[in-house]
Subunit: 121 residues, 2 copies
DNA sequence: TTATCACTTAGAGTCTAGTCTAAGTCAATA
DNA sequence: TATTGACTTAGACTAGACTCTAAGTGATAA
């Protein structure tokens, strides 16, 4: 699969895909005789996982760490699990914070709708 | 209330408070005869609201727009409501995305725990 | 054959949201 | 009186995550 196809499939830019490769999150992707990238099934799976985790706000630094541990092999399994568990905690916390903010936002909108707004901001 | 006290109360830095003032999110804050900031109750309420919204990822640009509309007065009420409703939609979408990512993360951790991990990454 | 187009690279530039620095003022304490 | 410490300013710097540019290559269409 070419970089263009991958970019379309996952709705991201070629630049982002090359950037992820440069920082070592993906690949190194195989290239054909003309030096053009040909993404493998495994590349695609990594990209999908990374895209999903990025959309949750997990940093490239953390993902890079995870990928590096994975590439080190079996011996890092437990460490990888712990890394993921830490990110789970952070993510749950973030969702909680955002849900609280959402509730406040909804309340404020309700005040606007019922014209009861005699408040600050 | 001094900048230091406000910073402590809301767990943020003096720099961030001055930055918010500089971009017009807060204040202008009253200053005493020595030029030292003295935050009012209203300033504190704004800061609290802004901090909450920032923690949900609402951009400074959007918040600035909201604050500016507010300062324009009554006539902007409906526009403000719409702005907030848009942010509500975005926020709900973001929470949904993050919750999905969280589910995937949990599933992956489960695979680690049960040693069924014969997967990619 | 020439032009076009998608790809390649290294590296510079951008945006957001702070964060830090330098130089200065003021009030209170040693 | 001298120094300490918290505050002030303007403006430079940073981190993270891209995004863009310039210069070049190679395959295909006219």
């Amino acid at each position: 699969m070419t970089i263009k196809e991958v970019a379309e499939k996952f709705d991201m830019t070629n630049d982002t895909l090359r950037y992820y490769e440069k920082v070592g999150l993906v690949g190194p992707v195989k290239k054909n005789s003309s030096g053009i990238r040909d993404y493998s099934e495994e590349d695609l799976k990594r990209i999908e996982f990374i895209k999903c985790m990025r959309s949750a706000g997990i940093s490239i630094e953390v993902l890079k760490k995870y990928v590096d541990l994975y590439d080190e092999g079996e011996s890092t399994k437990l460490e990888r699990q712990h890394l993921l568990e830490e990110e789970q905690d952070k993510l749950e916390e973030k969702i909680k914070t955002m849900t609280e903010a959402l509730e406040k936002l909804k309340y404020k909108i309700e005040l606007y709708k019922t014209n009861k707004l005699d408040e600050y901001l």
